[in-house]
């Protein structure tokens, strides 16, 4: 499956937009957690949980899924492939890992946000876990961004074999 240059640029733009948007949303999420932990005021902590849940479900999760799916389409429809180059494969694995952790973790955020919305109290200790999750997520996204920009050399054994086969066919 191949794409025309125009379509390829469009898909690349969508992928960069969703990925960078995901990174920015995680920074906002982290800022909310840090602010609530620093101020330690009940209203701020409650507000932070509610805002973090909304940011998580309505911004971070859609952007993560969009980034993953668009990246998948892009890799499979260009010569890069999904498992031919180490940097593409690593990006894919890291994105799958980050998205899985995100989807597993969001119900916990919803739980704490629900408590904050329905009662006059909020859980402060849970915010430390948010720092860990959001901080780890941010690190993974920064690694992915770096891999995308630098595209370090290195083909997998599968990629090398495929390229070798293609070259042999073209020379025949």
């Amino acid at each position: 499956m191949t794409m025309t240059p125009g379509l390829r640029k469009f898909v690349l733009t969508a992928h960069v937009t969703s990925s960078v948007g995901w990174l920015g949303a995680v920074v906002v999420y982290l800022a909310l957690a840090v602010a609530a932990l620093t101020i330690q005021d009940a209203q701020t902590v409650r507000g932070a949980w509610i805002a973090m849940e909304l940011t998580g479900w309505f911004v971070i999760v859609p952007l993560a899924l969009a980034s993953l799916l668009i990246g998948l389409v892009q890799s499979l429809s260009t010569p890069w492939g999904l498992f031919r180059h180490y940097w593409v494969m690593m990006k894919f694995l890291l994105t799958v890992f980050a998205t899985t952790v995100l989807l597993l973790h969001m119900p916990t955020v919803s739980y704490f946000a629900g408590v904050a919305a329905e009662t006059d109290s909020a859980n402060l200790s849970g915010l430390r876990g948010e720092l860990l999750h959001a901080g780890g997520g941010l690190l993974v996204l920064l690694v992915n961004t770096t891999l995308s920009v630098y595209k370090p050399r290195g083909m997998t054994r599968y990629g090398w074999r495929k390229q070798h086969e293609r070259r042999t066919v073209s020379q025949a």
């Binding site: 180490y86 597993l104 973790h105 119900p107 704490f112 109290s121 402060l124 430390r128 876990g129 290195g154």
Partner: protein, 83 residues
């Protein structure tokens, strides 16, 4: 701003360097991939050790426990729960 080509040998943004796989023998796994693998393995080991030493603190179980996430205790009215 136009993206520079990803590899010096290519002139488009999907170009794959012509020297890749140009030899008959697989050149092997690059060093940066090995370093990445070692770091990933160390992080996984660290996570497993954390789980083994304090199983209730983190992990998927934290998200599915019937008593509430993270060993959640009943909220204190009009206040912030301290750890």
């Amino acid at each position: 701003m136009a993206d520079p080509p990803p590899y010096p040998e290519s002139n488009d943004d999907i170009g794959v360097g012509p020297d890749r796989g140009s030899t008959d023998v697989y050149p092997g796994t690059p060093r940066w991939v090995k370093v990445f693998g070692i770091i990933a393995l160390a992080l996984v080991l660290l996570f497993v050790i954390m789980l083994l030493t304090d199983p209730g603190r983190h992990g998927p179980g934290r998200h599915t426990r019937s008593s509430g996430p993270g060993g959640y205790t009943p909220p204190i009215e009009h206040g912030v729960q301290q750890p």
